[in-house]
C-alpha cells in the first residue's frame, strides 16, 4: 500500500520535473528580431527610376529604391543602351528641383557635382529632400552628363516619400541670424542600446538667392551650402512622462569632420522614444537656435524639449 503511494509520488515529481524542463514560463525577448520590427534597415541600393534613350540608359538608385524626405545617398549609373555596358562618362551634375503649384521653383541641400566611383562605375552623391511629393509641389531631377565633348541633359520627375524611420528625421528652421537652416540625420539608421555614432548634415539657405528662387535652374544649385565649423550641442532624453526626463551619459556634441558632415556620439540606454535636444552654435559660439532643457529627473512629467530637436524612435 505504502509502496504504491511512494511510486505515485515519484511519478508526480518526475512529471513535474519534465513539464518544467520542457519549457520556460515566459519566453525571452528576441532582441535582434524585435528591433528589426521597429526599424527596417535599408542597406541595399535599388533603382528608383530610369531614363532610356537611343544612346544611353540612366539609372537613378537610392537605398531601398525610394527617395525619402530627408537625407538620401544617391547613385547614378549610365550605360550604353545598345551594348548594355557602362558608358565612359566624364562628369555628372545632379539637381533636384521642386515646382510648387504656384509655379515657383526651388531646390534643396544637394551635391551638385557627383563623384565618380571608378571601381563600381557609378556616380555618387547625396540630396536632402526638404519636402515630400504631393499636391503642393513635385520634384524633378535635372541631370547633365558629359560623354566625350558632348553633354546630355535630362529631367525626370520623381516621387519623394515620407521617411518612416525617425532616426533619419530632418528639421528646417530659421536661426536668430535670420538664416534658414536644415539639419538632417544621416546615421545611425538603426541605433542600438549602446554608444551610437551620430552623423548629421547641416545646411544653410544662401541668402543671395531669394527663397522664391525664380532664377534659371542653373543657379538653383547654389541655393544651399553646408555650414562650416558650427557645433551642434546634444542632449538626448526620453520624453515619456514615466521616464521622468531620463538621459544618458557620455554623449558627445556634433562637430564637423573632414567629410563636411557633423559627427558626435549618442548613447541610448534603452529602446523606445527619444528626443535629441540640440543647440546650434555658429563658429563664434553664438547660439543660432535651441534652448537648454531641464536636467533634473522629474518622474510623471513629460520632458521639455529644446526649441531645436528631433524625435527619434527605435
Amino acid at each position: 500500500m505504502k509502496v504504491s503511494i511512494l511510486i505515485k509520488t515519484i511519478v508526480f515529481y518526475a512529471a513535474l520535473a519534465c513539464v518544467f524542463l520542457g519549457s520556460c514560463t515566459k519566453g525571452k525577448t528576441n532582441y535582434e528580431a524585435e528591433r528589426g520590427e521597429v526599424i527596417e534597415e535599408n542597406n541595399e541600393f535599388k533603382e528608383v527610376s530610369n531614363v532610356v534613350n537611343s544612346a544611353y540608359t540612366v539609372s537613378i538608385e537610392a537605398l531601398n529604391g525610394v527617395l525619402y524626405r530627408g537625407y538620401n545617398d544617391i547613385r547614378v549609373r549610365i550605360k550604353n543602351t545598345q551594348t548594355n555596358t557602362p558608358a565612359e562618362v566624364s562628369g555628372l551634375t545632379f539637381l533636384p528641383v521642386r515646382t510648387t503649384v504656384m509655379g515657383e521653383k526651388n531646390s534643396c541641400p544637394n551635391q551638385y557635382d557627383f563623384d565618380y566611383k571608378s571601381e563600381d562605375k557609378y556616380f555618387s552623391g547625396y540630396t536632402v529632400f526638404t519636402s515630400e511629393s504631393g499636391t503642393e509641389g513635385s520634384w524633378a531631377l535635372h541631370i547633365n552628363f558629359t560623354v566625350g565633348n558632348q553633354t546630355f541633359s535630362l529631367i525626370k520627375e520623381v516621387q519623394v516619400k515620407q521617411q518612416s524611420n525617425k532616426n533619419l528625421n530632418m528639421t528646417m528652421f530659421t536661426g536668430v541670424d535670420e538664416e534658414q537652416y536644415v539639419i538632417a540625420l544621416i546615421a545611425p539608421q538603426k541605433p542600438n542600446v549602446a554608444e551610437n555614432k551620430l552623423v548629421a548634415g547641416i545646411y544653410k539657405l544662401n541668402r543671395m538667392l531669394d527663397s522664391s528662387g525664380k532664377g534659371p535652374a542653373g543657379q538653383l544649385q547654389l541655393s544651399y551650402s553646408q555650414v562650416e565649423r558650427y557645433t551642434l550641442k546634444l542632449d538626448p532624453r526620453m520624453p515619456e512622462p514615466s521616464m521622468g526626463n531620463h538621459s544618458s551619459p557620455n554623449n558627445k556634441d556634433l562637430i564637423q569632420d573632414k567629410d563636411g558632415l557633423y559627427h558626435g556620439v549618442v548613447n541610448y540606454t534603452m529602446t523606445g522614444n527619444w528626443t535629441l535636444n540640440f543647440i546650434l552654435l555658429n563658429p563664434e559660439g553664438k547660439v543660432i537656435r535651441g534652448t537648454e532643457v531641464p536636467k533634473d529627473f522629474t518622474p510623471g512629467v513629460e520632458g521639455r524639449k529644446s526649441e531645436l530637436h528631433l524625435d527619434i524612435l527605435f
Binding site: I10, L21, T29, L313
Partner: protein, 662 residues
Amino acid sequence: MKKLSLVLFIISLGLDVNGQIVPVKRDTTRRLGEVKVDATIKRKIENDMKMAVSVDEFLASSDNISFIKRGAYAWEPLLNNMSTERSTITIDGMHIFGACTDKMDPITSYVESNNLSSIDIKSGQEGNMHGATVAGSIDLKRRSTPFGLPQKIGGAYQTGFEFNNKQTFNLGSLFYSTDNFVADGSIAFRKAGNYYDGNNKEVLHSQYNKLNASLGLAYKTSPLSAVRVDAIFDRAKDVGFPALPMDLWLSRAIITSASYKQLFEQGLVKVWDTKVYFNAVEHYMDDTTRPENLVHMDMPGWSTTYGLVSKINLKKDRYSSEVQLNVYDNLSIAEMRMYPQDRSKQTMFAYSWPWVTTRFASVATNNSWEISERSKVNLGGSLGWNYNYSKYVEFNWIFHPGAPQKKNRWLPGLHASYELNLNQFDISLGTGFGHRAPSVSEAYGYYIYNSFDRYDYIGNPDLKNEISYEANASVGFKTEKLSIAAKVNYFYINNYIIGRILSLGSPMNYQSVGVKGYTSLNKATLFNAAVNVGYKILDNLHWKAMFTYARGKDDEGGNLPFIRPLSYQTSLHYGYKRLGLRTSLNGDFAQTNYSPMYGEDLTGAYKIWNLSADYTFSLGKFKSVFQLGAENLLNEYYSTYADWGNIPRMGRNIFTSLKVNF
C-alpha cells in the same frame, strides 16, 4: 519541446519501475552514506524556539548570519555581515544563482526545511572549498536516507498554523530504503497572508505561497559504491515584497544532479565523490497589484547553471585532507520592459543583465595534521579561474566605453589555522587571504534599481578583484555545566566593491533618485565578534546566551552599510517528562554606526520575547510532537537595521505545529 517532455516522462516512469523490481539482496557489509570524513559541525534544521522553522528562521539562529529582509519571504543571508556576493552559497556543493537582479531569490529560498539535513557554515577563507569567497560559505546539505535502514519505509508529516499571517504549512517526507536501493522524497506547501505589525496594522503585500518538492534515488552499484540522482523543484507564487515597488508573480527552480560515490577500504584515498548538476531558475516580477506605480514594467530573469563537483578525501595516520574540483557555467539574463501610459505606443526595453556568462573552475584543498593529542594544524588553499562574457556588451559600453567583452580572472585563496586544546580550554588562531571576482550585477548590471537607497546601479566590467586578508581567533572554555566560547574575526579588504554616486547619467526607474556605479574602495575593514554561553542550571533546565558585535568601516573611516549593531539572544529550556518549555529573548541595540551615504538611517533598539511549549505523545504507534508558542509576545513594533525601507516586522504571532513520525 512537448515531445521531449513526454520522452523524459516515459524514461522517468521506466526508472520508477526499475526502482521497484531491483532485487532485494541482504548485504550488510557496509552502510553507505554514513561515512563522514570531514569534521565540520552539522547543524540540525531546528532552532531553539520552533521545530517547524523555515530555512531562513533556522539560519537566523547562527551567530555569524544576519539577514536583509524585504518582506516575510526569501531573506538574503549575510555571512559575517557581508552580502551574498561575498559568500558562496551552494546546495550540496552545487552552485546556483538567483535570477532576480534585486536579490529577491537567494538560494536559501529554493529549498525547504524538510529536504535539508543540515547547513554547513564556514567563515572566511575556510569556505573556499566550493569556490572563491571573502565572507565564507554556506552549504545547504540535502537530506539523504542511508541504505539498509532497519525500517524499510518511513517518513514524517508536519502541519501547522501561524495566526499572525494565517500561514498554513504542510510538510511531508517519505523514504524507502533497502540494502541497495533508496528513494526519498519530500513535499512542502506553505501559504501565508499579509502579516500584522506590532501596532496591529496590516503590512500589505507581504503574502507568499510556496511549493517545494524533492526526490532522490540512490542505487548501490557495489558494496563500496553508489549512484544517486536528485531533483528539487521549487515554485513560489504571488509573493509580496512590501519593501519593494513590485511583487513576485512566479519564480521556479529545478535543481538536479547525478552523483557517483566510491569508497576505498585501503590506501590513502578514502572517498571519491563526483557529481554533475544542472539547475535552472526563472523569476518574474509583477507590479500590476501596485496601482501607485506610474510605469508598468516587466522584469523577467533567468539563470541556468551546469556544473561538476568532484571531491576526494584522503587520510593517513594523523593527516587528513580533502581535494575538490569545482567547474560551472552560468548564464544570467534579466530584462526590463517599460510600458508607456499609452500602451499602444512603443515599449521601452533594456537588459539589466545583458546575457552574462560566467565560467568558473577551481581546485581547492584543505589539509589537517594532528601534531599531538592536543593540537592540530589546518592548511588549505584554492586556485580559481573566473571567466565572464557579456553578449550584449554595448549596454555596458554606455557607462564604460571600450570595456572588454570577455574577462579572465585568477582567484587565489589560502588559509591556515592552529587549534590547541588545553584541559578545559579550546583555542584556535587562523589567518587567510583570498580574491573574489565581482558578481554579475557588480560587473555587468545595468540600471538595477535598489529600493533601499533608491538608486539605479550600474556594473563595471573593469572592477578589480576584491582581495581579503583575514585573521580569526576563538577561545572556548567548558566544564560539565558551563560552556563559554568567544570568537572574533577581522577582515581587511582591498578593492572593496560598493556603489558610489555617479555624476553621469540619470535614473531610469521612476522611483529612483540617481545613478550609482559599482566602484572599488581602496580598502574596507570588518570586525565581527560573538560570545556564546551555555549553562546547565539543572539537568533539565538549560540556559543559553549569545552576543554579537560587528563594525565595518570604509576607506575614509565612514560606516559600511548593513552591519549589525550589538545584538543578543538568550533562551531558557526546561524539560519535564514529555513536556518541553522554552522561552527566549532576543534583540538588537540601536544602530548608531549607520551609514547615511548608503541609505541607512538610525534604527532604534528592540527586544522580542518568545515563548513555546511542546508535548511528545504517541498517536497510535507513531511518535508525535505538538507545539504551541508565541513569537514577539509583547507585540513590539519594530524594524531592524537591515529591513529594506524600514518596513515593520511581524507583531505577536501565535504558532501551532504538529509533527508525526512514522
